[in-house]
């Protein structure tokens, strides 16, 4: 699951013209550390929904990589 999530984030970053992240940490901020802007966030939510059938925003907006992981468990 974590590998698939990282793959999705890397793909979104690549499509945004950003380099791949070499190391992911749970405390990483989606906005500040992973450069996930509003369009990328909408894409992330949509791709997680398509891949995991989970609405990660259902319990309120997620802020960090770790929060997404915990909502996928």
């Amino acid at each position: 699951m974590q590998e698939k999530l990282i793959e999705i984030i890397q793909k979104i970053r690549t499509e945004s013209g950003l380099p791949e992240i070499t190391e992911f940490k749970e405390e990483m901020s989606l906005k500040d550390d992973l450069d996930i802007d509003s369009i990328s966030m909408a894409q992330l939510i949509a791709e997680i929904d398509q891949n995991f059938k989970v609405d990660i925003n259902a319990a309120g907006p997620v802020q960090t990589f770790g929060e997404i992981l915990s909502r996928l468990k």
Binding site: E15, S16, G17, D37, M41, A42, A46, Q50
Partner: protein, 288 residues
């Protein structure tokens, strides 16, 4: 999800002996919004997020392309509008709306998200999404190009933009060749909830642009000589009623009979970009 509409072009739809670009933007926005509300089986007034805040459609990008310019629409023409909509996830909506007569067709693409207002400050709109709706709008599996391109331009990555058959080279560090400051006209620039209306951006842009070109022409007026055939607006931000807008003309290139013009609109108070605008204008139709 489709909507069709027939319209006769009369004075309310016209400006400068052509189809009014301002009217066209408003009409496209209204149809886009109708398509969303129809697809969500709700009225715009009732559209709310999970904390019961009223949602407003926020335009992200609008792209108009046509082989002929707005001067090819003539009074009493019968025009048809044909629109369809799809979404990517729950927050991004993409419509394609054709506006055409027997003589000319404008192909228009609109992209919106949803925002809530924070304490009435138009510079701090927050993204949100509809809650508790029966969503019948087709959900796309991939972010459409109009959205991914927007992101690449906002991140200053995309170097070339195609608009119809025209190509713009984007230099993000380009110094403006002309600037003009525009004081908002609240009676026409602000919408029903006091936000800078998405349809005002292109007109503010063109008002400022004409200041530059009218200095270049020999007596004739730019507004009555060259008309829009393509326009691409990337919306970044909004502003409050007391704001002044700084227009920056970045490029003005003549290609054959056409002018390719690119520009920025900024908030004067903090220099934040409100919109990036790409326009192609061509000479007025010849009247037999």
């Amino acid at each position: 999800m489709n909507i069709n509409k027939d319209i006769t072009i009369n004075m309310p739809q016209m400006a400068l002996e052509a189809l009014s670009e301002n009217w066209l933007f408003k009409e496209l926005g209204a149809m886009h919004w109708d398509l969303i509300c129809h697809g969500l089986s709700t009225k715009s007034f009732d559209l709310k997020n999970d904390t019961d805040d009223r949602l407003y459609a926020t335009f992200v990008r609008i792209r108009l392309t046509s082989e002929k310019n707005l001067s090819h629409f003539i009074e009493n023409d019968a025009a048809a509008m044909d629109g369809s909509i799809a979404r990517f996830g729950n927050s991004m909506y993409f419509s394609k709306i054709d506006f055409k007569t027997s003589e000319v067709a404008f192909h228009n693409e609109l992209m919106t998200t949803f925002s809530i207002r924070n304490h009435g400050d138009n510079t701090k709109l927050a993204k949100s999404e509809p809650h508790n709706v029966d969503n019948q709008v087709e959900n796309l599996s991939k972010l459409p190009a109009i959205g991914s391109e927007y992101r690449l331009i906002k991140k200053r990555v995309l170097k070339e933009l195609n608009l119809g058959n025209f190509k713009f080279t984007i230099d993000y560090d380009q110094e403006p060749i002309f600037t003009h400051t525009y004081a908002l006209n609240p009676f026409i620039d602000l919408n029903g909830v006091n936000l800078l209306y998405f349809a005002a951006y292109p007109i503010i842009n063109d008002v400022c642009e004409s200041k530059y070109f009218n200095e270049q022409l020999d007596g004739s007026r730019w507004e009555q000589t060259y008309y829009t055939s393509h326009k691409d607006i990337l919306y970044y931000s909004n502003c409050n009623i007391n704001e002044r807008i700084k227009y920056e003309l970045l490029t003005a290139e003549k290609q054959g009979a056409d002018y390719l013009v690119s520009s920025l609109l900024r908030r004067e108070s903090d220099n934040e970009i409100l919109a990036r605008v790409f326009t192609v204008k061509s000479p007025k139709r010849e009247i037999a």
